[in-house]
C-alpha cells in the first residue's frame, strides 16, 4: 500500500517551460478575478453607508432608491437607444465589408471603422453638443409637431437639441466600431462550405447570408451587442457633456427635461461631493456594476439557449 501511495505522488518529469508557462497563464487569468473582486469590494464597502443614510442627507430625494432610479432609468434608456441605432448599422457595415465590398475597399473601410474607436469620448461629446444637437432641433420640432401622440415624441421639443435621443445617438456612434469589428470578424468566419451549400441550392447572395452567415454569427452578434451595451452603459464624459439633466423619469425623448445617467452623474457631482454624498455616488456605481453583470448573464443565456444548433458542434 505504501508503495502505491508513493507512486501516486510521483509526477512524470516535465520540462521547465511546461511548468512555468501554465503558471504564467494561470496568474494572468487570476488577475482578472482579483481585479473584479477588488472593484466589487470597494463599491460595496464604500457604497453601503449610502443605503442606510438619513433622508436629509440624500440630495433631491427621500431615499437612495428614489435617488438612483431616475439615473438608472436614464442609463438604460440612453444605452437602449444607442443599441437601436448601432445594431442595424454595424451589422450592415460589417456585412458590406465581409461579403459585398471589393477587397481593397473592404480593408480600408475596416481600418476607418477601427479608427473611429480611437477618437476620445470627449470629442464625441463636443461633436454632439456643437455639431449634432443644433442640427437635430428641426427634426425634434417636426416630431413634436406631427408625432406627438407617440409618448416618445410628446414635446415640447428641446430648443438646444441636448436631449436623451441626441445622447443615445452619439452613444450609438461611439459603440459602432466595436460592434462592427466583432460582427465583421464573425461574418468572415462563416465556413465557406456552408456558404457554398446555400449557393449551390440556388440561393441568391442575400438568401445565402440569411441561411448561413446570420445563423452562424448569431452568438457573435449578441456578444458584440453586449460589449457595445457595456460601453454605452458606462460611458461618462460624452453623456455628461451633451445631456441637460433634470433627473426625471419620462418616456419623452426630445424634451429638455431628461433623466441623467449614473456614470455622467458621478462625473458631474463628484468634484463637489463630500462625506456621505461620496458614498451615495459610489453606491450608484455599485448599482451600475450589478446591472452590467445582469445584462451580461442575460446575453450568455440568450446565446446558450440554442447552443445545439449553433454550428459549433
Amino acid at each position: 500500500m505504501t508503495s502505491h501511495a508513493v507512486e501516486g505522488t510521483h509526477r512524470p518529469p516535465r520540462s521547465v517551460g511546461d511548468r512555468v508557462f501554465p503558471a504564467l497563464v494561470t496568474a494572468a487569468g487570476a488577475v482578472i478575478l482579483v481585479t473584479l473582486a477588488g472593484v466589487a469590494l470597494f463599491l460595496t464597502y464604500e457604497g453601503l453607508p449610502a443605503l442606510t443614510a438619513k433622508a436629509a442627507d440624500i440630495p433631491g430625494a427621500d431615499s437612495f432608491a428614489a435617488y438612483v432610479w431616475p439615473l438608472l432609468y436614464g442609463t438604460l434608456l440612453a444605452s437602449v437607444l444607442a443599441l437601436l441605432f448601432a445594431v442595424p448599422v454595424s451589422i450592415g457595415v460589417a456585412l458590406f465589408i465581409s461579403h459585398f465590398a471589393p477587397r481593397r475597399l473592404a480593408s480600408s473601410l475596416g481600418y476607418l471603422v477601427d479608427l473611429l474607436a480611437a477618437v476620445p469620448s470627449i470629442i464625441y461629446g463636443l461633436w454632439g453638443i456643437f455639431f449634432l444637437a443644433p442640427r437635430l432641433v428641426p427634426l425634434y420640432d417636426w416630431l413634436a409637431g406631427h408625432l406627438s401622440w407617440i409618448p416618445f415624441f410628446a414635446g415640447p421639443a428641446s430648443v438646444t437639441g441636448r436631449t436623451i435621443l441626441t445622447a443615445g445617438f452619439v452613444l450609438g456612434v461611439m459603440v459602432l466600431p466595436i460592434m462592427t469589428s466583432i460582427c465583421r470578424e464573425i461574418f468572415l468566419q462563416t465556413p465557406r462550405l456552408h456558404e457554398e451549400a446555400a449557393l449551390a441550392l440556388g440561393a441568391t447572395r442575400w438568401e445565402m447570408i440569411r441561411m448561413t452567415v446570420f445563423p452562424y454569427g448569431r452568438s457573435g452578434i449578441v456578444s458584440g451587442a453586449m460589449l457595445a451595451l457595456g460601453r454605452a452603459l458606462g460611458e461618462t464624459i460624452a453623456v455628461a457633456t451633451i445631456l441637460s439633466v433634470s433627473n426625471v423619469v419620462s418616456l419623452n425623448l426630445i424634451s429638455s427635461t431628461n433623466p441623467g445617467t449614473i456614470a455622467a452623474n458621478i462625473a458631474l457631482k463628484f468634484p463637489e461631493a463630500s462625506g456621505i454624498e461620496v458614498n451615495i455616488l459610489i453606491a450608484t456605481g455599485l448599482v451600475l456594476f450589478i446591472v452590467t453583470f445582469l445584462v451580461n448573464f442575460l446575453a450568455r443565456a440568450i446565446v446558450g439557449r440554442r447552443a445545439e444548433f449553433s454550428g459549433a458542434n
Partner: protein
C-alpha cells in the same frame, strides 16, 4: 427530368490563370459520368463550371460553350441562381446547415424556390427525399434534431437528400465519399446506382475502383505540370477506359504508375 450536357472547347480561368483548357465532352442524360485524374488537374473546377459555382470565386470565368439540353448555360440572359436551382451539387465534405434541423435541411432548397409550402406537402417531401437518400429509417424519429448531430456518412446522405428534394435535372458530386468510411461509401454508391435512373450524375472521384463501380462513362483529366492548365485526356465507356485506354497517360494512371 434529366438533361444531357454538351461541353465544347471550354477554357476555365481564375483571373489570368488558365486552369482548364479545351474541354470537349458530351454527357448523356440518365447516366453516371466519372471524372478521374491526379490532384490539381481541374476536375473539380470543371465540375463547378457545370452549375456556375466556380464563379463565386472572384475573377473566375469561362470561355467556350456548355449546352444543357441545347440551351446555352453561359448565355448573358441566364441567371446563375436559376441554374443552380436546377443543377444540384454534393460537396466533398458533408455540409448540412448546422443551424437547421434535419427536416429543415431537406427543405432548404424548396424554401428558396417557393416560400409557401403546406405542412403536409413539406413532410411528404422530407420523407420521400430522405427515403430516396436511404436515410429515412435512421432519422425518422429525430427529424427536429440538428443536421450536425448525424454521423459523417449520414450527413452526406442528408446533403444528397437536400440536393434531390428540389428535383434537379443534373446532380454534380465532388468527391462525395472522400471524407467517409467504407460502409458509408458503399451506402452512397448504392444510392448513386438508384439515382441514375432519374438523374444525370457527374461525379469527381480520386478512387478509381469507385469510378469503375458506379459510372458508365469515365473521363480522365491530366496536367502537364504544376502551373500548367489541366486537360481532358480522353473519355469513353468505363470498361474501355479501365481495360484498353487509348492514351498511354491514362493507362499509366489507372494502373497506378503515377498519381
Amino acid at each position: 427530368m434529366a438533361k444531357s450536357i454538351d461541353v465544347s472547347d471550354l477554357d476555365i480561368y481564375y483571373g489570368d490563370f488558365l486552369a482548364v483548357e479545351g474541354v470537349t465532352i458530351p454527357i448523356a442524360a440518365r447516366s453516371v459520368t466519372a471524372f478521374i485524374g491526379p490532384s490539381g488537374c481541374g476536375k473539380s473546377t470543371f465540375l463547378r463550371s457545370l452549375n456556375r459555382m466556380h464563379e463565386v470565386i472572384p475573377g473566375a470565368r469561362v470561355e467556350g460553350k456548355i449546352l444543357i439540353d441545347g440551351a446555352d448555360l453561359y448565355d448573358p440572359d441566364v441567371d446563375p441562381v436559376e441554374v443552380r436551382r436546377q443543377i444540384g451539387m454534393v460537396f466533398q465534405r458533408p455540409n448540412p446547415f448546422p443551424t437547421m434541423s434535419i427536416a429543415e435541411n431537406v427543405l432548404a432548397g424548396m424554401r428558396l424556390n417557393s416560400r409557401k409550402l403546406k405542412k403536409t406537402e413539406a413532410s411528404e417531401i422530407v420523407e420521400s427525399s430522405l427515403r430516396r437518400a436511404n436515410l429515412w429509417n435512421e432519422v425518422k424519429d429525430r427529424l427536429t434534431k440538428p443536421g450536425s448531430s448525424l454521423s459523417g456518412g449520414q450527413q452526406q446522405r442528408l446533403c444528397i437528400a437536400r440536393a434531390i428534394a428540389v428535383q434537379p435535372q443534373v446532380l454534380l458530386m465532388d468527391e462525395p465519399c472522400s471524407a467517409l468510411d467504407p460502409i458509408s461509401t458503399t451506402a452512397i454508391e448504392d444510392l448513386i446506382h438508384e439515382l441514375r435512373e432519374d438523374y444525370t450524375i457527374v461525379i469527381v472521384t480520386h478512387n478509381m475502383q469507385q469510378a469503375a463501380r458506379v459510372s458508365e462513362t469515365t473521363a480522365f483529366f491530366n496536367l502537364a505540370g504544376v502551373g500548367r492548365p489541366g486537360h481532358l485526356i480522353e473519355y469513353g465507356p468505363t470498361t474501355k477506359i479501365f481495360t484498353t485506354p487509348e492514351n498511354p497517360a491514362t493507362e499509366a494512371y489507372i494502373s497506378g504508375r503515377f498519381g
